[in-house]
Each structure stands twice: as structure tokens, then as C-alpha cells.
């Protein structure tokens, strides 16, 4: 028994020397400085892989969106590198149809979850593409960055949002997308219905009237399947202004500013909506 123990000890000792993998001790130290949210928002699958990426100079410290800027600066100073610049990316909801502007044709009674409602006859909302308002995204958000407003629409708190992708995966209607905060122009609608039908179901639906297409710099906005789509590859922060939203008859295209909040056109029906506070009656 003693002999067997000695033999195995020798094998282990040799294996320890032969199979030793050198690991940069800084990886552990950087890992300790990270917030340990394991959210994957930086593009690698967790905090330790991110620490490796920072030490290997693959990612700048600022790619961690959960950490505070000071925390990221500490990592940068520790590594003796530049913090780097990563633009803040946030989740945005492509729907503005709360209960005050979107019609509901049937009442949904079952399990209070969007995923469940979507499987039961689409959840009863008039618009087939719109937000169901049962808060799966707010439930799944680990950072408390989403809350539901009085009209059953999720509101993303931009400061808290880390762009971790969870709400995008859970939404059965695929309404969330990640957008850099500099992209201020945004179409808050996904309805592919024709103009009249879309507007009958929701007052803030995109009716594909093409006014924004004309007002925007050429080629920026395009109508695809009865919906205005912004080509963010052509988006230039300097030349794009608020003009495209001004003539929108329903207010489906919006201007999102981190400080000033969301603004939409004040013509047509949009003016009435801004004063309405009650929910619409159910069909």
C-alpha cells in the first residue's frame, strides 16, 4: 500500500511538472476586479474569459458594460493600457403600442407570461407584432433595467442596461434590439400590416406613408413590407437630425435622446395620444 502510494505520488509529481500550463497571474487579478455578473454582454462567455481577453489585449477594459467607468479605469491602470472607447449599447423596444393606443380584441386569462400568451392565439392583442405587456423581459433582466409602465409597455433604464441580450432572447415577438445610444432615430413599430389595417389596430403603428423616407438623408430609411426600416450602416450622427420624425402622421418614428427622453411628432393623431391617459376599451 505504501509502495502504491509512493508510486502514485511520483506520477503526480512528474505530471505536475510535465503538464504544467503557465497562466498569466494577472488574469486572476483582473478577474477579481470585474463585477462577476457573468452576463456575456462583452461578447465573451463570462467574466474570466473576459479577463483573459483583456490580458491578451484582445478586448479593451471598457468593453465591460456592467462595470463602472472608474472600475474599468482601475483595470486599465493596472494593465498599463488605455481604457479604450466602447460606445454604450442599450436594448430598445420596437413597439409603442401600450394599452392606451393599441386595441385588444380578446382578453387573455392564462399564465401571465408573454411566451405563454403568444402560444395561445397570439395573446389577444389586435396587432400581431406588438408587445403583449406581460413582462417576461422585466422578469428576465438581471440588472433591474426594465420596468413596466402604466400602459403595459416595458421601459428600459439606459443607465442600468448592460446590453446583455437576455430580453432579446426571451421576447416572443422579437421586439428588442441592441442599439448604440448615438442612434437617436428609431422606428418604434414592427407591424407589417397595410396602412389602414395597421392604424385600425394601433394608433402609433407605422403606416408606410414614406414621409420619413423623403425627409431623411437619401437611402437612410427604406420601406420594406409596409414598415419603415432605418439602415444603420448609413447612419451618420452629424447629418441625421430630427427632421424625419416631424411629419410622421402616427408618431411611429421617434427620436431618443439619453437626456431628453423620447420625442415623437406632434401632428395628427399623435397630439391626441399625448393627452390620453386611460386604457382603450376592449373589443
Amino acid at each position: 500500500m505504501v509502495v502504491l502510494g509512493i508510486v502514485l505520488a511520483i506520477i503526480l509529481a512528474i505530471a505536475n511538472k510535465k503538464l504544467f500550463v503557465y497562466e498569466d497571474p494577472r488574469i486572476d487579478q483582473v478577474d477579481e476586479m470585474l463585477p462577476q455578473a457573468q452576463c456575456g454582454a462583452c461578447g465573451v462567455p463570462g467574466c474570466r474569459p473576459f479577463a483573459e481577453a483583456v490580458v491578451n489585449r484582445v478586448k479593451p477594459p471598457s468593453a465591460c458594460t456592467v462595470n463602472t467607468p472608474e472600475g474599468n479605469q482601475d483595470i486599465a491602470s493596472f494593465m498599463g493600457i488605455d481604457m479604450g472607447e466602447t460606445e454604450k449599447v442599450v436594448a430598445r423596444l420596437a413597439c409603442a403600442g401600450g394599452t392606451h393606443v393599441a386595441y385588444t380584441r380578446a382578453k387573455y386569462q392564462g399564465l401571465q407570461s408573454c411566451q405563454a400568451a403568444a402560444a395561445v392565439s397570439g395573446g389577444g392583442k389586435g396587432c400581431n407584432w406588438g408587445c403583449l405587456g406581460l413582462a417576461d423581459c422585466a422578469d428576465v433582466c438581471d440588472f433591474d433595467a426594465i420596468f413596466m409602465d402604466e400602459y403595459g409597455l416595458p421601459i428600459v433604464i439606459e443607465d442600468k442596461c448592460t446590453a446583455c441580450n437576455d430580453c432579446i432572447v426571451i421576447c416572443p415577438k422579437d421586439l428588442f434590439s441592441l442599439q448604440p445610444v448615438s442612434h437617436k432615430l428609431f422606428v418604434a413599430c414592427k407591424s407589417l400590416d397595410e396602412g389602414d389595417i395597421a392604424e385600425a389596430e394601433c394608433e402609433v403603428a407605422c403606416t408606410a406613408c414614406e414621409k420619413c423616407v423623403v425627409d431623411a438623408p437619401e437611402g437612410l430609411i427604406e420601406i420594406k413590407n409596409n414598415l419603415a426600416v432605418i439602415d444603420f450602416k448609413k447612419y451618420d450622427e452629424i447629418t441625421v437630425d430630427r427632421l424625419p420624425i416631424e411629419r410622421c402622421p402616427t408618431g411611429a418614428i421617434v427620436w431618443i435622446d439619453s437626456q431628453l427622453g423620447t420625442t415623437r411628432s406632434s401632428v395628427g393623431k399623435a397630439a391626441r395620444q399625448s393627452t390620453r391617459t386611460e386604457s382603450l376599451p376592449q373589443a
Binding site: 380584441r105 380578446a106 387573455y108 386569462q109 392564462g110 399564465l111 407570461s113 411566451q115 405563454a116 403568444a118 402560444a119 395561445v120 392565439s121 397570439g122 395573446g123 389577444g124 400581431n128 407589417l192 400590416d193
Partner: protein, 448 residues
Amino acid sequence: MNLLNLFGKKTFPRGIHPEGFKEETHDHQARRLPFPAQIILPLSQNIGKPAIPIVHMGQHVRRGELIARADGFMSVPLHASVSGTIKKIDLVPSARGDKEQAIIIQTSLSSTQTHHHGDYQDFEKMSPQALVQAVQDTGMVGLGGASFPTHVKMKIPDDCTIDTIIINGCECEPFLTTDHRIMLEQISFMLRGIRIAMKAVDAPRAIIGVEDNKLNVLEAIRPHLPADDSITIEAVVTKYPQGAEKMLVYSLLGKEIPSGKLPSSIGVAIFNVATLAAIGELLPQRQGLIERIITITGDNLNKPGNYMVPLGTPLSHILKHAEFTGNEAELILGGPMMGMPASFLDTPVKKGTGAVLVLDKRATKRDDVLPCIKCSQCLQVCPINLNPSELGMLATKRKYDVMEEQYHLNDCFECGCCSYVCPSNIPLVQHFRIAKTLNRERHRMEVA
């Protein structure tokens, strides 16, 4: 072996006994409704690929004429269910919730609505391959509700031989009486359909399985059965979900269909009575499936009953003629246990729609969901031996991969027994449906 089977009663272990509610409609002969002014025919009425339209806007079509062809083998063609003009081919809301392509036909008011048919064909002289093709040409899908293309079921894999076909006349869901009426009114069509199916799959015998709450069916059918005992009829215990494929095979033959396998792997093919009755009627005339019997029943209806309606009839038309008097109702397409709720009054009757159930809001009122108390009632009723309690707790933690890999989620056929008995009102089946949907999405993303 189940204890009841020793006494000559055929059944399967576990399951539930919900109240039947069939008295209201089971004596109502199937009647016709007036034709609706407009027909909505979704292109996807079957599991598999949707049909491809071959008509254009403004074209005049005759009742029974082909308007969309099958897209490959896992698809069935679609026929016009009224004579009229094609109004448009457009997106319409489906019962599932999303929008789908549909052909909308404006009914000709002056038309006699005669059923268009082809030349007579004698199925006795046809080969099995020709029969499978002929069944596909009728546009037939499983009329019991699953909408699986019937010709695909009849195409038996080369390494299997079928020794028995089972004809499912259980109709175990409460409220439904369409199959009951078909077995009383269309006996000759049904027996011809059975012989066609036996020939197509080359099976020597057929068993009709009927729940013992429909004993008048046994009396009515027995005199018509052939003397050589190739077709027999047997009563099974009235119990839910007796009409599920796996349960009925176990009750009648004592065999289990292995997990993830088709019935053909144990030499059995199963068809619904309505499906075979329709094949028996349509195939010899080369006609297409354009109408079906549905049960309309529930609360606040002056004229509940069984009605023969053209496919594509909107729910509002049916409710009007059944004289619905209430204001609010929960509309369910199919039975109360496995049916789909409809949220739109223009939802059309599809090939798989067996019933329209109109329930009072009070009848469907839900109590608050309470935590699982681990009473194990769901385990005692699950007909396929799953652990719904554990699955439900995993679902609330969103551990969908564990549900699939360790707790056999994919064997669940969503019969709803667990939700029915749960004293804490946990909507277990809804949790399982979400889990299955998300798992499917995950697998698709892994492949891509």
C-alpha cells in the same frame, strides 16, 4: 397488465374522468348551414409545408375545384369549398396567433353550389402506391385535430409491415360528438374508407375502437361488418385520453409504442373515423376535402348541434346560425382539454377543427395559481408516466434543457390531465408548451 383488462374491459392505466357534456348534441343529426358570403381558406391546413396557390385574383372557381397544389410529399392540396370568385390572396390572423397566407373567396349568390367531381376510380383495382397518391389528391389530413397528412401515414416505411389498423372512434374529449354522428350516419362511407386504408397499408385486419359511452354505435355498425372478421369493433372504457394514439393502441392490443417512434414500428397504423369516412366518400369520385362536420356546443346557444360546414367558414357565421345570445364568451376550436382558443371572430374553420366550443366566462374563470404542494396527483394521472410536478418546477426556473434531457419533455403530448387535477391550479401544460417552443428555437439556433 391492467386489472380492468382481466374483466374484459379494455383500457390503459391512469388518466382522468372528466364530465362528458355530450347529451346536448349527440342526438343531433348533422345539418347544413347556409353558405357564408365569404370563405377564408388558409394555405397551411396541415402539419408540413403549406400548399401553393394556383389561382389568381378575380378568377371564378367551382365548388370542389383545385385552388392550391401540394408542395412536395409532406403537403396536401387545397380545394375551393364554395363556387365563387377569388377576392384576394392575403395575410389573415390564424388561430395560433401569427398571420398566415390565405385564399379568400367571395361566394356566388346565384350558384347552385354543386360539388365538382372527377371520373370514378375503383380502389379495388388500384396499387397501394396509387392509393397513397389518390389520398394525397383528396387533400386529406387527420380530421381528429392533429391535421397530419393522411397519405404520409399510409406510406409505410420499407422495414415495417402493418398487421393491424386501428380506427379511432373514441372521441374522449368532453362536449365533442362529431365522430359519434359520423359512426351512426356514414357507416358505408366509413367501411369503404377502412377497406381503402387496409389496402393502402396492406393490413389483414382492422379494429374500430369506440368508448363505451357510445354503445348505440356498436349496435348500428355490427350488422354491416364483413363475415370474415377482418373488421371488428370493440368497446373501450370511457376515460380521458383514451383517444390518444398511444393509449388506444395499449388498450386494444396491449402494446406500447416506444418513445420517439411511430406506430408503424410495432406494426400498427391508426386513423380517425372521420378521416376514413371522408376518404371513403371522396376518393372514388376523385373529389377534394371541402367540408366537414363540426360540433357547436356550450353556453348561451339556442341551436347547439352538429353541422356540416364548408372549410373556411368564419366563426362569426357559425355563431350567428347557432344563435349565440351572450355578450362575452371564450371560444375554443376543438375540445376543452386540447383545443385552441380563438381570439378573432373571422378565424376560419380548418380541416383539423372538430368543434367550436362556446364557454361562458364564468365557466372558464381561473383561480389564483398557488405553489406546488407536491401532492403527486399529476403523477397519478399522467398517461405516459412523466413527472409533471418536477417538470413544472423546472419550467419556473427556466431549466428547459434539463426538462428535455432528463425528464422526457418531448414525450408529453399535452393532454392536459395534469393541469386538470392540479389542486394548486398550476397551468402545467402551458409551461410545457413554452418549454417545447423555446427548446425548438434553441436547437434551430444550434444548427444554424
